[in-house]
């Protein structure tokens, strides 16, 4: 689990989520346990934050049935 730095009591992190995307009503709540924008340093995870912002209305991509179920609606008919 630990790549660099120090860690004690690491069992408290075992099985925990770093980022959560929770559908809520017609929207989403995205929670980060990591810090995607920690000053200028965490450039490798900047995209996690930007992806979340840019795709704010498409966070269900790849999971259409989940969104339909969460919103209590039928899936949109295929227009093709």
């Amino acid at each position: 689990m630990l790549l660099s730095g120090e860690l004690a009591g690491g069992e408290a992190l075992s099985g925990r989520a770093l980022a959560l995307d929770q559908p809520l009503g017609a929207g989403h709540v995205v929670m980060f346990a990591l810090r995607p924008f920690w000053r200028w340093q965490t450039q490798g995870t900047f995209a996690l934050g930007f992806n979340t912002i840019v795709n704010w209305d498409h966070l269900d991509a790849g999971k259409p049935e989940v969104k339909a179920r969460a919103a209590g609606m039928q899936p949109a008919p295929d227009m093709n």
Binding site: L2, A8, S14, A17, L18, A19, T45, T52, A61
Partner: protein, 157 residues
Amino acid sequence: MEHPTTLYAKGALMRGMIADKKSPIVYGYTGDQMPVYFSQDPVLRAAGGGGAGRGGFGGAARQVPGVGVDITRTRRRLRFLRMCFRMPTMLWLRRKGYPRRRRMQALHVRRFDAMVVVAREGLVERVPKKLRRGSCCSFRREQTRCCYPVNWLVAKL
């Protein structure tokens, strides 16, 4: 959301597992893992385990070698570091007239390859080079980890 009191992870790099590669949140990332910066809290517990989220330390316990291992060695190492940096630095600070509380805040910052101490609020002072050599963590330096970021030192004031 949890704030475990037994956890000590002040600005460490952790191995993150991407649980859902199709999520837009991880667009552009390839592979199953990614190193992430994590600092102490919050700790998110997803219903049904780590797999419920988009990624996590989670799932990791079963998939990544080394995850979920006994961390007793880490704790022992922490104690060792506290012990070995303390004496020469403490004596030097004492001679300079720093009060005991400030002396106890002296830490070794390997990241900048320099020993620094927090002298006053927000001020980081370098320990003389001659004091660094042959003392403190130069012993088994490569085998031990002592990466205290400066911002952590300041935050501890």
